[in-house]
Symmetry: C2
């Protein structure tokens, strides 16, 4: 069992703590870490044994991870039980997590800000800077969202190149261009 190895165990525990700091429950993050470290599909019962969680909790965690699209169910020959594997391509994993969080939290926020900005246009009693700053926040988050939508569809090699370029990308931008 993977959790017999102290390093693997440490990884899983740390990953769990990370999760709590980023809005994912400890269990979910731990299950993900375990699957990430495994080279073969694992069934729910084995996850229970490895992590010491309740069966129902594992079920919920798996559902959540599948919702993020970073874990999927696979069939294993000669076994009736469902087995699960994690996405091992870390770019893919990151993109999917960001994608889902954008959908769940950012998009509704943009919608709300848009609505507030609209209402403020007709509200003469509201302080000018309130209107202005709500609008600015709306535009800012919108820009980030649009940027992400464009970047995420780039071919992975391009993405890797861009990342490795780091700040040097700036060199290749023609001066004066902005759209």
């Amino acid at each position: 069992m993977i959790t017999d190895h102290p390093e693997a165990k440490a990884f899983i525990l740390h990953w769990g703590e990370m999760g709590t700091q980023w809005g994912v429950s400890r269990s979910v993050a731990q299950v993900h870490a375990l699957l990430y470290l495994s080279d073969r599909p694992i069934d729910a019962e084995a996850i229970v044994d490895a992590l010491g969680l309740a069966r129902s909790n594992v079920s919920t965690a798996l559902k959540e991870l599948q919702g993020y699209g970073i874990v999927r169910r696979v069939h294993v020959e000669g076994d009736r039980r469902d087995h699960f594997v994690a996405e091992t391509d870390l770019w893919e994993m990151l993109m999917r997590i960001v994608q889902e969080r954008k959908k769940r939290e950012i998009d509704p926020t943009i919608a709300l800000l848009g609505e507030l900005a609209e209402r403020l246009r007709g509200d003469t009693t509201a302080p000018a800077q309130v209107r202005e700053r709500v609008v600015r926040m709306h535009e800012f988050i919108g820009t980030l969202g649009t940027w992400y939508e464009q970047v995420r569809v780039l071919p992975k090699p391009t993405l890797v190149t861009l990342m490795k370029l780091g700040g040097k990308v700036a060199r290749f931008i023609p001066k004066g261009k902005s759209g």
Copy 2:
């Protein structure tokens, strides 16, 4: 008072909820939202009145926000009380938040992964894929961190241009270049 305006109030409440989903307490996020919407420095007592929070809670929230570097204390003429203002440049704000979270959570994670990877090099009993995946995760997060450190020091106009370019940046990257 800013919170008299329904749109401002809605903004503050939503911002508070957003906070809870991203690992910041509701109070901290609300105080930040209030300061962001204000065009003048606000003292702690006024924040208490506006948001209905305990004085001690506001004090803690302000400290936290100053820790992120997105709120600072200012002196107001003829008033002995401390007043506070929020960063209104959203780029600056985002960069500082990311910077701080990197420092608090990512950097320690990289350190731990590095340590685990090192230990795994000498552990012949550990499954090969465990070693490999811990190493890959270490490298991946390290790459992201390095990328961020480089991007954050770019001049703001450059940053804005890059953002607006979106996926089009890819066009300007010479083929075959990678470092």
